[in-house]
Symmetry: C2
């Protein structure tokens, strides 16, 4: 009897919430509603934030909105992947690959363009990149053939003389590790002479607090300790 009551109450609350959210949307005019619904599809943006952003757009100058609209409409037409490293570009190859000052013999393999941007932000790396556009992730049905591993291998085969080092800079999580392991096994299988394969160092992040560090990080930090 009690279960039935709890079930009924839950049902009523759920129906209320659904009806409520339909009602919420219906109070907005279509011009705002459509924009809000689109923004809600973006990652990390919920219904309230989408509404707030749509209202904010209303306060911007008309020419700015028109320019933004133009940019959005032509985005997919203009943006291509660099033929060499698969970074985003408007030309055939990206600015980084075109830069003659960069060391073309070192290639840093990253999962996404956002990772590439993190390296670029610090000006800490002067080689070139290879963007995988994903990681091996069986749970989400991403296999080795779904990301740009084949292209990396054929690049190394083709330009045997140029690439001397591959830095595997996939994320230090389960899928990133698996991706790095897979690429390493493929590359060693090629038996290319003098190809160095490296991985980013593990350890404590700068400014970290030992008290709050997880034990896996501490383990890696001890294992990888250096002469001081």
């Amino acid at each position: 009897m009690n279960y039935l009551l709890v079930g009924l109450v839950t049902l009523v609350v759920l129906v209320g919430l659904i009806v409520g959210s339909i009602k919420l949307m219906s109070s907005l005019p279509n011009s705002l509603k459509n924009i809000s619904l689109f923004l809600e599809r973006l990652p990390g943006i919920g219904e309230k934030t989408a509404n707030r952003l749509a209202f904010f757009l209303l306060n911007l100058p008309d020419e700015d909105l028109k320019e933004f609209a133009e940019n959005v409409a032509t985005l997919k037409l203009k943006t291509k992947l660099c033929k060499k490293c698969f970074n985003f570009t408007e030309d055939e190859t990206c600015e980084i690959c075109n830069d003659q000052k960069r060391d073309q013999s070192v290639t840093c393999v990253v999962e996404t363009v956002l990772d590439l941007l993190s390296f670029e932000q610090g000006r800490i790396y002067n080689g070139v990149y290879h963007v995988l556009h994903g990681k091996i992730d069986p749970l989400n049905r991403m296999g080795p053939e779904d990301i740009k591993i084949r292209e990396l291998i054929s690049k190394i085969k083709d330009q045997k003389s140029k690439i001397k080092e591959i830095i595997l800079a996939t994320n230090p999580d389960m899928e990133g590790e698996a991706t790095a392991m897979y690429i390493k096994s493929k590359l060693t299988g090629l038996r290319v002479n003098e190809l160095k394969i490296t991985r980013l160092a593990y350890g404590l992040p700068m400014g970290a607090n030992l008290e709050y560090a997880d034990y896996m990080t501490l383990k890696k930090a001890i294992e990888g300790r250096n002469k001081f």
Copy 2:
């Protein structure tokens, strides 16, 4: 000497950060950079989030992007303020004001359309609204004449027979309170017969924990206690 050193280091770090962020942007093609820079202007969206959103747009279907661009370009043209309550609308008056089932004798005064949507979400209110589009906030140079107070007063003067109750639903913060006080003094100055002016109840929010409640809320909850 030490101060000079600290100053120098700070300068170097600052220059590094500025150069770094210029560098970060320059690694992106213009098509993405422009969209990212626009999104950065929206509230609560920083540089990294803007990049992530711009990259996400790249993965959406072309027709969806075109439709969104069209909506953004025509947003300001299509969206107007309701002549009665200043809610957003595409027509002369909004859906809420047009709804004959709503009680036109009760008007709820809110600061923003987002506040109006919060009431609508719960279907807890069946009257109409008056959106002020702001609050009295001298620090940000917003006076009584910058928000829709004059319009509220002339509405009450005009339709003396219709409006019987004004619910002041401005936020329970300093500026919201000041706005409510100001409107109350203006309305009582009108000496309209039988006009009830009310304010939202203060107290503990539902699901709150007494342990974490601030003392002002507790004070209001005790002052406003009801027979149980």
